[in-house]
Symmetry: C2
């Protein structure tokens, strides 16, 4: 049967030029933030041995990896479903002798058999960083500050960082003598902030009274600095107390950074529980249900690759950022060519010299190399969002002149070609390619 050619696999995504330009704008903006914080990019392979990748990947994500058989070795390969384990492995094997901390960035696609949703695909793009070798709370604060700077750089408003700590709940769960199934029920009730279900499970497992009280309080431990005081009463075990002290120090530093107003403490947040060893955060934007960025501390991950070293990291979900920008009406300039040259001469020399001169100055210059009428060429130039049209040759234009049309203003001038070549800036002041643009 002839394949249906228009058919893409579920969750595969094409970016047409306008969308691709927006995507590059977002990725470039985020990479620039990372660079300004001293982070350097690494590039990881798209596929690796599945068992190696699995070693550093969440169980839930592992189940959703794209796998294939290496036809040479018969070993199972997988497409990366997460970049952090790859970076952890690279640090453990190739960069362990480098002076710490390491500041690494990445910008790449990942693959998961997730259920496709609006602005989420089975191949999706992440821009993120890893800060390796620093166990102090300043590390978390640095990456949270970068997440906020990234959101600002993209022109997004109304964002908020939800900040939790996996150690706080872990300390409480340590005191609940029950099976894993019940612990999972507890966490699911917390995740949904389903107070009734939470009451039921707590009554069922009957932990010590102060633990029961703490578990019931968790969903309400959301807010600013006062949350830390309220949580202190719930942290009557060493692990929870240590977690709280750590979170308090992170919050104190965020206050010095002037960022605390953008941060919401949420001790009942359990989404990152399995993956993170300490603080974790997610960035939300008003009116958009899914997190656009997330990260935290995972001090145990590198040890799985044979190198015991603390680390924090976070990543933006580029597709969601694009969706939010669209929802917030954040415009990304989509300029067409700065110049569009229509050439009616046979020898083409003047048009070629013009194109070269303008491109050397950095302008985007398209040439019409279809022999069509002027009106048709102009329509094409307009469709391309060209700014200036230069007409060389053709009826009524002497050989040493060109007609310059400004498609923005509708203005038209006749100029000497030699003068334009000598000094483009004099004639197209603010346009790129004219040495001052």
């Amino acid at each position: 049967m002839r394949p249906v050619l228009t058919q893409l696999p579920r969750g595969a995504r094409i970016y047409l030029p306008e969308e691709a330009a927006r995507k590059r704008h977002v990725e470039g903006g985020l990479l620039d933030v990372f660079r300004r914080w001293g982070y350097r990019e690494v590039v990881t392979p798209t596929f690796e041995y599945a068992d190696v990748l699995a070693l550093g990947t969440d169980a839930g994500v592992q189940e959703n990896m794209f796998t294939l058989v290496d036809r040479e070795t018969g070993r199972m390969l997988a497409l990366r479903a997460d970049i952090t384990p790859q970076v952890a492995r690279i640090v453990a094997t190739r960069l362990r002798d480098e002076p710490k901390p390491l500041r690494l960035a990445y910008l790449t696609n990942v693959f998961r058999y997730d259920e496709p949703r609006v602005s989420h695909y089975r191949e999706f793009y992440q821009a993120g960083v890893e800060l390796v070798g620093l166990e102090k709370p300043e590390a978390e604060v640095e990456v949270i500050a970068m997440a906020i700077e990234g959101l600002r750089a993209l022109g997004l408003g109304g964002f908020q960082i939800d900040l939790g700590h996996s150690g706080f709940l872990r300390g409480l769960l340590d005191q609940v003598k029950t099976d894993e199934a019940r612990q999972l029920e507890l966490r699911q009730a917390l995740a949904r902030k389903d107070v009734a279900a939470l009451e039921r499970v707590v009554a069922d497992v009957a932990p010590p009274a102060h633990v029961a009280e703490a578990l019931r309080t968790l969903p309400a431990l959301v807010g600013g600095a006062p949350v830390l005081d309220r949580a202190a009463g719930c942290a009557r075990n060493e692990r929870s107390a240590r977690a709280l002290a750590n979170l308090a120090e992170v919050y104190r530093l965020l206050t010095i950074y002037g960022l605390a107003d953008s941060v919401l403490l949420d001790l009942g947040e359990v989404r990152g529980f399995d993956y993170y060893s300490g603080t974790y955060f997610e960035a939300y934007v008003a009116g958009f249900g899914a997190a656009v960025a997330g990260g935290g501390r995972y001090d145990q991950l590198l040890a799985r690759f044979g190198y015991d070293c603390p680390a924090v990291g976070f990543a933006f979900d580029v597709g969601r950022v694009l969706a939010v920008m669209e929802a917030q009406g954040v415009a990304v300039a989509q300029p067409g060519p700065d110049f569009f040259i229509i050439d009616f001469t046979a020898e083409k020399t003047a048009a070629l010299s013009l194109a070269r001169r303008l491109r050397d100055g950095g302008a985007a210059v398209a040439r019409d190399i279809i022999s069509r009428g002027l009106e048709e060429s102009l329509a094409y130039a307009r469709a391309q969002h060209a700014r200036h049209v230069l007409v060389v040759g053709g009826p009524g234009t002497p050989g040493d002149r060109l007609r310059a049309l400004d498609l923005d203003t509708g203005g038209e001038r006749t100029l000497r070609i030699a003068e334009v070549l000598a000094e483009p800036a004099r004639h197209f002041g603010s346009a790129k390619g004219t040495d001052d643009g």
Copy 2:
């Protein structure tokens, strides 16, 4: 068995920070060239249905595709082994009503079970363009000019474009009455420029005398403009003659562009024979055996996706470009942070303000957030190739001052923090982040 964690699958490649920076430099430089010629990026999915991809892919490449079973539909998926068929499909299905020509660019990885070689991996990176909807020779000339401009933009010297035309040999083969196996032998002898083997096969298939003579002459039809005259004597069939006329027009236009000196006509070149319908070219750099870029005309490809439309395109092999740059000693700046701030204060406010002020001006600013001694921090700053080190607080420095060390010159100054904040440019003239950099 515990997996060997250091083990990557054959042909997988990691780019550590210095290599990744070089890669991004190359890709950014090429995308910039494409943009200046009016090309706009598209992003294609990494995986698609294998039968759809195969439709536009060379038989040889098809055999080397990475395939996997879609776990939802059971249909075979493949990782893209070539971007052109994807772009062709996108044009045929999503952009067919757009005004032509379309100028599209891409920058992405492709996957093939090729034998790994120096600077060639099973996942490799291509930067290329497609010019769709233009059957005139100006289209080929435009992309050849872009290839040359790309090589120049990257600072590469000693390059050459080998230019051939599949129609010329096709016309000759039309006149050889023999089976496919013999035709393949003929083409293989030509590919190797193996004159003895060529003689033998030609004698064997015994074509008309003038065709035999033409086939024997092919390996010598290499050079500049005179090749066109010499080839004319061999083109005694309509198809070869038409091919030659087309090639001559392309060469004439390249001469007008001032590019003919970089172009070597090669009518015995058969490497692109299966794929291309007309002219095709490869870019070589002195001292490097493999082509760093290649492309040509494939007027029949889009029709396979249901849209009959002429097209030309070409792509750079980014990995090979990187290898050539290294061989030619082309340096890529690998700057560390512009500023490295070492902060001995408890309140951190001054250091944070400095970092923000400098970053807002575009500088890369790393901060040392490990409590170590000054000497150790300085050693770390040097290892990061930082340019300026700013020391805030610490023994002997009053609270309102900082010590500024220039790691390039070894110079050291004590500055008022307030003055640096007010006017960074006055103190760090040419550094980024100081508003004039």
